[in-house]
């Protein structure tokens, strides 16, 4: 940064007072898309971390792999010794597994949202982080889809939920919200993976061209013989457009359908008409926070301050603030209605949540989701400071996991008749599986970061091609070719 930036805002010369060269330099420092470098340099910056296995790689893989292994082993235990090893009981029959399922699918929502919606809106700060976002989606859906399987009493009969012609001549029950859930989750998994793959092809071709060894073989398989003719690019763009629209249609429906698992019941606390948008808002909220965490970690660890700059963190931060406000709005809806109506069962749900055995989780959630972001994210200083954003985002993750936990477990503990009010305590099995799932996602990132390029280089190059510095009077502005 130049000296002029360190001085207080009133003392800094305005941009118009600086010379053209100074202005150009400032713009290049701040904005990725005017800071064009030769293609070879960009390629090297992205491919070098992919090829280099640092000192921390194997220990990280070891620890994460161990956690993932404990996840699978615990699941195996549970299939052998049955669901009784969890903390579930007669009243609270859905708990941490379902909460994890909803939470992880929620994170997955924002990945494709960032990639698809921002592409349609032509917002440029999505360019370097699209792949990280889409990969987050793919891993999170995969991990989350395993949780409904884990929570089944007879997991080995899970295939009965799939619609296919079978000897029993029975089909699944399409009246049931769980089947809508299954359809939506699998649709989202399939389409997100395809979307991710479509976006990956040109970068895999790039890796195929410039690396050696087994990564070259892998990337050449992934690249499907991509050469970059104008026809291929045109098809890619049209396919991306259709996919963006399609995924934007699927994405809110997925989390809405997940919310229907709860809203379709007549359980007090769950039977709420606002659950659809409420869950979607929470999902995007947690997902944006997860993308921020991933972006910051990759920027720090791979020395990518060229690609991921303040402008990207700032953009993500504003988006986070926006989704935080939307979440606050929907949460307030879901709160004020039962509070005001004072219907006895719903009132009891609120009481249990706020003052009963759910109070620790509840107040932590409010602090992490509503209070902290509201009082920090308005300032650019906070949004561009990576330790602050990392801390806020991690707190938001915790807060939203607690929100799902409260909805699933605490609400379910308050049934219609008082004889059926029950507590739930998670036991070792559920806690191990939750940490294992998160470890799985992180492990996926760590491993894949050594397999494929993690910055969407062709989009960055395209952006740098389209955005140029244009002179107006004595100043320079960034101008984009449409």
């Amino acid at each position: 940064m130049s000296d002029s930036d360190i001085r207080a805002p009133q003392q800094r010369p305005s941009l118009g007072e600086m010379g053209l060269d100074q202005q150009a330099q400032l713009e290049r420092e701040r904005h990725l898309l005017v800071d064009a470098r030769p293609g070879r340099e960009l390629n090297a910056m992205v491919l070098e971390p992919m090829m280099r296995i640092g000192r921390a790689f194997w220990p990280a893989v070891g620890v994460l792999g161990f956690l993932v292994l404990t996840w699978w082993v615990t699941w195996g235990f549970q299939m052998w010794w049955n669901v009784g090893i969890t903390g579930l009981n007669r009243v609270v029959m859905w708990s941490l597994y379902i909460a994890n399922y909803v939470y992880l699918i929620g994170i997955a929502e924002a990945g494709t949202f960032i990639a698809a919606a921002l592409r349609l809106l032509d917002i440029d700060w999505r360019r370097p982080i699209s792949r990280i976002a889409e990969l987050l989606t793919v891993f999170c859906i995969f991990a989350s889809a395993l949780f409904p399987l884990a929570h089944l009493g007879r997991t080995w009969k899970f295939y009965w939920l799939l619609p296919y012609p079978n000897e029993r001549q029975l089909w699944p029950n399409f009246h049931s919200a769980l089947i809508w859930d299954l359809t939506a989750t699998l649709s989202y998994l399939a389409t997100s993976t395809l979307f991710f793959y479509i976006d990956l092809i040109p970068d895999a071709a790039l890796a195929r061209d410039h690396v050696h060894g087994w990564r070259r073989t892998l990337n050449s398989w992934l690249a499907l013989g991509w050469r970059g003719t104008e026809r291929q690019w045109r098809l890619l763009k049209v396919a991306q457009l259709i996919f963006s629209i399609g995924i934007l249609l699927i994405m809110p429906s997925v989390h809405t359908v997940v919310s229907y698992d709860f809203a379709m019941t007549i359980q007090p606390g769950w039977h709420s008409t606002v659950f659809g948008p409420y869950f979607v808002a929470g999902a995007i909220y947690s997902g944006v926070a997860a993308i921020i965490i991933a972006a910051i970690l990759f920027q720090r660890l791979n020395h990518w301050s060229y690609f991921i700059r303040d402008e990207h963190l700032n953009g993500l931060g504003i988006f986070l603030l926006l989704t935080s406000l939307v979440w606050d709005y929907f949460f307030f809806q879901d709160f004020i209605v039962p509070w005001y109506g004072q219907v006895p069962t719903e009132k009891q749900v609120l009481l249990t949540m706020m003052a009963g055995h759910g109070q620790l989780a509840f107040w932590l959630m409010i602090t992490a989701n509503a209070i902290i972001p509201f009082f920090t994210l308005w300032w650019r200083r906070v949004r561009t400071s990576w330790p602050a954003m990392l801390a806020i985002s991690i707190l938001i993750q915790l807060g939203l996991l607690l929100e799902r936990y409260i909805i699933v477990t605490i609400d379910l503990g308050v049934r219609e008749l008082p004889f059926n009010w029950g507590l739930y305590q998670p036991r070792a099995a559920e806690l191990i599986m939750s940490t294992g799932a998160v470890a799985f996602i992180v492990l996926g990132f760590v491993v894949f970061s050594k397999l494929i390029p993690f910055v969407v280089l062709y989009e960055v190059k395209e952006g740098q091609f389209l955005v140029q510095l244009k002179r107006i009077g004595k100043g320079l502005i960034r101008s984009k070719m449409e």
Binding site: F174, S187, F195, W226, G228, V238, F465
Partner: protein
């Protein structure tokens, strides 16, 4: 690319302007646009090159995919509900709002999957025929790929160099063998797609054979063998004395259970019929314990004409027939009380006159 050509030439240029000049020069030489391709490391606006906008059929594929998905959803909601109608919660057989959810999801799923396959087919993948390429095309080089006849080769290469090509690569495609390889590569590539589709259809067909045809796959299920002791299953512990049954008479050793029927000849004849149906297989024609199945049991079936059975009071015989004993199953399910008394009459008559066959 299609079209008759003998050579494939790739020119690499340092920037977009020079590449566009090269394309214009090639067009001026009279080379048709189907044989010219422009390559770049990132998407550029198509108007940059004097080439027509590439056509794609993705819009059509989208529509067709959406229609197929919609029909699939209709089948699942309406078809499957009517194939096996079940009443759940008083909801209509084909519920309205849930149908919308399912139709929506399946429409989008099949639509996007179809678009992906159309895209993959459209970028001509996987390509199993010879390609000409340069690594700089994924750095910052712009390429122009042109298919040339032998007559066009010289002037085209000159034009490319004149526009500032950094390098030229040539692939010799003339002759039957390269053409054949090319054709074969394309068939393999399409063949892969076709077999994928055929594979999917075949999988569904096999499932249907299992579902509606004669093939069966029997696998053990958990609740087939039950811990409870079923009807005519043994061995059973003897009921403790003074045990109270759920239904039926109280059977206390030494005391008559129900009012016994008089041992008339009619009763004995009914008993004889019943003996043939229920008792003969183990106890044999004359009740000596030598029926066709007697050898399978250990201990063997009792000799009903023998002294042990002769010493039992009628109520005890009644009790044994009702409750079973050891390996002998309970016959309470198969006989009413009256029929059991008829059998008691018969058994007692076996001991009295062993010579008479039932």
């Amino acid at each position: 690319m299609r079209g008759f050509h003998d050579y494939l030439v790739l020119g690499v240029f340092a920037d977009l302007g020079r590449a566009a000049d090269a394309v214009a020069a090639l067009r001026q030489l009279g080379i048709p646009e189907e044989r010219i391709r422009a390559l770049s490391p990132f998407p550029v606006p198509t108007r940059a090159y004097p080439l027509p906008r590439p056509r794609d059929r993705l819009a059509l594929v989208t529509a067709v995919g959406a229609a197929i998905g919609f029909l699939l959803g209709i089948f699942l909601m309406v078809g499957t509900a009517n194939l096996y109608p079940l009443d759940v919660g008083g909801q209509p057989l084909v519920p309205g709002p849930p149908s919308i959810v399912i139709l929506y999801e399946y429409t989008l799923l099949v639509m996007l999957t179809a678009v992906f396959f159309a895209f993959a087919l459209g970028i001509r993948t996987p390509a199993y025929w010879a390609q000409v390429y340069d690594r700089r095309l994924s750095e910052d080089g712009f390429g122009v790929l042109v298919g040339l006849t032998s007559r066009e080769l010289e002037p085209a290469e000159r034009a490319l160099r004149a526009s500032g090509a950094l390098s030229l690569r040539r692939l010799d495609e003339a002759g039957l063998r390269p053409q054949l390889r090319r054709w074969l590569g394309r068939q393999i590539s399409y063949g892969l797609w076709v077999s994928a589709v055929v594979g999917g259809v075949l999988a569904i067909a096999i499932l249907c054979v299992f579902a509606y045809g004669g093939l069966q796959w029997i696998y053990p299920d958990q609740m087939v063998t039950q811990q409870s002791v079923g009807y005519q299953e043994g061995p059973r512990l003897a009921a403790p004395t003074a045990a109270v049954p759920i239904q039926g008479p109280v059977l206390i050793s030494g005391q008559p259970a129900t009012e016994p029927l008089p041992g008339t000849a009619a009763s004995r004849e009914r008993g004889a019929n019943l003996f043939r149906n229920h008792c003969y297989l183990c106890h044999g024609n004359e009740g000596h314990g030598n029926g066709p199945l007697a050898g399978y049991y250990s201990p063997p079936p009792a000799d009903l004409a023998g002294p042990v059975v002769a010493g039992l009071p009628p109520s005890e015989v009644f009790r044994v027939i009702r409750l079973g004993r050891g390996v002998m199953p309970s016959l309470a399910e198969s006989l009413t009380a009256g029929e059991t008394w008829d059998l008691v009459t018969l058994v007692k008559s076996l001991t009295q006159s062993p010579a008479r066959t039932p």
